[in-house]
């Protein structure tokens, strides 16, 4: 069954009509890859799911519940973690404080799930190393790590990440792939926008490709990565 | 049109001085109706009052007065509350060659170096205030320290006061920023000046505006600790609540409704109680006096409003007011008037400290200097 479904979603930003009827399904417990050229509408789709833009037509359904008009905090409270394209780091807060805010259950730093933190530290050493530093001073990649770390500091049922591998060193990317695999094993559903096709292929179960505001292809990752011609036609290059 | 006599009243209807301005206006209207026996007309000519709100802004007052004279064809004008505004208005009267009766602005220079022949003033000037207070305090063996705001109003007052004091000696002049809120430091300075002086020790305060030093002075308990008395002039009733804490305090005031004994005052007090259930205040009396001056002058000219006629009529003219008879002296058109030496008494019936009459200081007793050059 599908955890998340978009049915004919249209989104306007001010005067611009950005999404022209997006149909997308994210199956429960799987990793879904959202691909597409720059400007295809991937980020806008994610923002629409999170209620940061609101669909002017169509429906967004999460676990059978219609969230088309829901407010962002409500959607998040349903167990969705989101990492935006710009990472959304709170630059003036320390890394610790950033994490603390992401951990909704904890009121103070010492109340965060220690085990989970260790797991995160192992994967993203920088987060531990700069625990008490202002997040704004982190390097680009370190910010990216922190952004993902924040999203997984507490268990969530749906994890939405916009370009997780951006700016990360290969070693870290490998860690991250392992981490997502582990989360998936725990039953977390994952929706990723990804440019790094190697990454996409390693992780993805199903794939959806967008082009100017529509989903132009959806299916199993295996089939997609096998079909060079399809990739060529949709992405303009083969893996 | 030609049958009406148009009088412009410019005053701070809004802005910081709103409360004062409103009093003046009330008094002015009451005065007109009293002086005309309720007809609001002189020699059959209707009196039309044009209200102008200068918001306490000099530039605005200036253009409003011009508007009144030029566009509204006012024959003469009365106003205004703030000295700064009044000073800015003086040249306009000269420009349009029309009479301006200044009320209640107090700056000496209005009837002093900034004066021109179209300017009259029913309100008292700083000198009159100061001199009357001097008369009330001036005794051998008294040391006086003055406490005033550090601006024209304060320095004017202190200067006039000093000139008027003959027997007592001025120990020190303390000037504090007009907007002072914490008086501890100022009071300390005064104490340091006075505490070791022999004989009677007095702090004489000239202070305008909401936050007065009186509560601070009372808290410091100067009387008990250093035998220092506090003295000051009159003020509006809300400000006199602070006086309650100085029973026996002496000074001289321009007006308090209980002080003058004359039919005009009685009439005004009665009328005011009738209309507002409260006694008239400081500026009500001023407005009333201005109205009396206007009507008396018009009666003299037989309703004529030609400026030169008015001036001729008003120079040296005497007229009845809630403060008794006032006289515009020829030289500077300042209205000579009585002031009242008072002593404060606590009276639970009143929210404020009640000034009791010690004696009325007659105009003749005060040598108010003539500062204008004509």
């Amino acid at each position: 069954m599908n955890l998340l479904e978009l049915k004919g979603v249209h989104t306007h930003i001010g005067a611009y009509h950005i999404l022209h009827g997006v149909d997308l399904v994210v199956p429960q417990g799987q990793v879904t890859m959202l691909l597409g050229r720059n400007g295809a509408g991937k980020s806008t789709t994610l923002r629409t799911v999170m209620g940061l833009w609101h669909a002017s037509q169509g429906r967004v359904v999460l676990a059978g519940q219609d969230i088309t008009a829901a407010a962002t905090p409500q959607i998040a409270a349903l167990g969705v973690a989101y990492v935006p394209e710009n990472m959304g780091i709170f630059a003036d807060l320390t890394v610790k404080e950033n994490m603390l805010l992401a951990a909704r259950a904890a009121r103070r730093a010492d109340q965060m799930d220690a085990g989970r933190l260790q797991w995160i530290f192992k994967m993203f050493p920088a987060v531990e190393k700069f625990w008490n530093h202002p997040a704004g001073k982190l390097s680009g990649g370190q910010k990216q790590m922190l952004a993902v770390a924040r999203a997984i500091v507490e268990p969530r049922r749906l994890l939405i990440v916009d370009e997780p591998s951006k700016g990360l060193a290969p070693a870290i990317i490998d860690n991250m792939i392992d981490a997502f695999a582990e989360l998936k094993a725990q039953g977390v559903t994952i929706l990723l926008v990804e440019q790094n096709l190697h990454f996409a292929r390693r992780l993805g179960d199903s794939v959806a490709v967008m082009d100017n505001g529509r989903v132009v292809h959806a299916g199993a990752m295996a089939a997609f990565s096998a079909d060079a011609a399809l990739q060529q036609s949709l992405l303009g290059l083969a893996l | 049109q030609s049958k009406d006599i148009r009088i412009a009243h410019v005053y701070g209807k809004t802005g910081a001085l709103e409360a004062y301005g409103k009093q003046t206006q009330t008094g002015f209207m009451m005065g007109l109706s009293y002086a005309t026996g309720g007809t609001m007309a002189v020699n059959g000519k209707k009196l039309v009052v044009i209200e102008k709100d200068d918001q306490g802004k000099p530039d605005l007052g200036k253009s409003l007065l011009a508007t009144a004279y030029a566009d509204d064809k006012a024959d003469l004008a009365v106003g205004t509350t703030g000295s700064g505004v009044a000073l800015a208005m003086l040249p306009v009267a000269e420009e349009y060659k029309k009479v301006l009766i200044v009320e209640p602005a107090v700056a000496d220079s209005i009837t002093g170096d900034k004066w021109n022949k179209y300017i009259f003033r029913t309100g008292r000037n700083s000198s009159q205030d100061a001199i009357s207070n001097a008369v009330a305090l001036d005794k051998e063996g008294t040391t006086i320290v003055t406490l005033a705001q550090d601006w024209a109003f304060g320095r004017d007052g202190v200067k006039a006061f000093k000139d008027a004091v003959k027997k007592a000696k001025i120990g020190h002049e303390e000037y504090l920023p007009p907007t002072t809120t914490d008086f501890t430091a100022g009071i300390q300075r005064i104490v340091d000046q006075l505490k070791d002086k022999p004989g009677r020790k007095v702090v004489w305060v000239v202070w305008a505006g909401a936050t007065t030093p009186f509560n601070a002075l009372a808290d410091a308990d100067l009387q008990k600790r250093f035998g220092i008395e506090v003295s000051t002039g009159g003020n509006i009733l809300p400000a006199m609540t602070a006086y309650k804490r100085f029973p026996g305090m002496e000074g001289a005031t321009y007006y308090y409704f209980g002080l003058p004994k004359n039919p005009v005052n009685e009439a005004m007090v009665a009328a005011h109680y009738k209309e507002f259930k409260t006694p008239p205040d400081f500026f009500t009396a001023g407005g009333f006096s201005a109205a009396m001056a206007v009507v008396t002058a018009l009666k003299k000219t037989g309703g004529e409003t030609a400026t030169n006629k008015l001036i001729a009529a008003m120079e040296g003219m005497s007229f009845e007011t809630p403060k008794g008879t006032m006289t515009f002296r020829k030289e500077d058109h300042q209205a000579m008037q009585s002031m009242y030496h008072f002593r404060i008494k606590q009276d639970p019936a009143f929210a404020w400290g009640v000034p009791e009459l010690v004696r009325e200081i007659k105009p003749e007793e005060m040598q108010v200097p003539i500062r204008n050059k004509r």
Partner: protein
């Protein structure tokens, strides 16, 4: 034509119409709206157009929020006031006054401009606020020099004083006297200054200022010395404000702390910029006109309204000239609500939508 406007055309038919109407209105004000008050209002509009436009150079184009702008306005006014009351009425006095004022403004604005780089935006705003209030206090402290709280009343050269009449008979209801000449003097000056500002903001310099406003860090990175540009902008706007102040003093023949230095004026300027539309010189012109006129006739309006609702207890209390400030406050709130991009922004957006 387009060159006179530095190719910064209204880009909206309505805007163009309004601007032309405005220009003509001001040009013939003495004859269209006879009467002392009307002329005073018109003159005040002229002064404020220049003042606000100069502030917009700082705020709208450079993104510096400064409350010290009235300080320079005041310096200009005091320059004329002090010189004319010391040296007596005369063109020489005017020249000296304006010259001295410009010099002082130059130095001060240079200092402030440089300081603005030391502390961050909000703090800078707050500091200028404090400095401005200090300056006002100073002005009333130095009473021997500035006339203190009471301010200075002074005369102007014969040619532009009311007493100078070059024709007995009023023409179209306007008396042909020095006031009239003075008004047209100001008119020409104002138009000239505004066009100059328009030129500046549309120059390469102006564009760099916008870049700095948008992203100071990157502007520096691509090779623009931010310090130089910011300071130049600060100085320029200060000088224009000084001239506006001089214009005010020339017209009023009076100046005092409340008249040219009060925080009220500063807030009015801000409001006008927002109403008109930030970062557009045209906005300054339209906003200034609307605001000054509204402010000058609000009380009269309320008087009428008050008579209309007389008797109705609450309404009567609200619709009285005494409560005009209430309505001014409302104007503040509403204009921020309804003109997020200012009138000019609105009109241009509409024009775009049409296409």
């Amino acid at each position: 034509m387009s060159r006179i406007l530095s190719h910064d055309l209204p880009r909206s038919r309505w805007l163009a119409v309004i601007l032309v109407a405005l220009l003509l209105g001001l040009a013939f004000a003495p004859f269209l709206f006879p009467g002392v008050k009307a002329l005073n209002v018109a003159a005040k509009v002229l002064v404020f157009v220049v003042l606000v436009a100069s502030f917009d150079l700082l705020l709208g184009y450079t993104g510096i929020v400064s409350f010290a702008h009235t300080m320079f306005f005041g310096i200009g006014a005091y320059g004329v006031a002090i010189a004319s009351s010391r040296m007596g009425a005369g063109w020489d006095a005017l020249a000296v006054g304006v010259g001295a004022a410009l010099a002082l403004s130059f130095v001060l604005s240079l200092a402030i401009g440089l300081f603005s780089l030391r502390v961050r935006a909000i703090f800078f705003a707050m500091i200028t606020l404090a400095v401005a209030s200090a300056f006002q206090t100073l002005a009333s402290q130095l009473s021997s020099f500035t006339g203190g709280e009471d301010g200075l009343t002074f005369k102007m050269p014969e040619l532009i004083s009311p007493s100078f009449e070059f024709a007995e008979e009023p023409f179209l209801g306007a008396s042909l006297d020095g006031r009239l000449l003075c008004y047209y003097g100001l008119f020409v000056l104002a138009v000239g200054l505004v066009l100059a500002l328009l030129r500046i903001v549309n120059s390469p310099f102006g564009r760099v200022l916008q870049a700095i406003r948008e992203n100071e860090f990157r502007a520096e990175a691509i090779g623009y010395r931010v310090v130089v540009y910011r300071t130049t902008a600060a100085v320029l706007s200060a000088l224009f404000a000084t001239l506006a102040g001089a214009m005010l003093a020339i017209w009023l023949r009076y100046n005092g702390p409340d008249t040219s230095l009060s925080f009220e004026i500063m807030v009015d300027i801000l409001l006008i910029v927002v109403i008109g539309g930030m970062g557009t010189v045209y906005g300054a012109a339209i906003g200034a006109t609307l605001f000054v006129v509204a402010q000058s006739y609000l009380q009269d309006l309320l008087r009428l309204a008050g008579e209309a609702v007389a008797g109705v207890p609450w309404l009567a209390a609200v619709f009285t000239p005494d409560r005009w400030l209430l309505w001014l406050g409302l104007l503040f709130v509403l204009s921020v609500y309804h003109f997020p991009t200012g009138i000019v922004g609105r009109l241009r957006a509409r024009a775009l939508a049409r296409r």
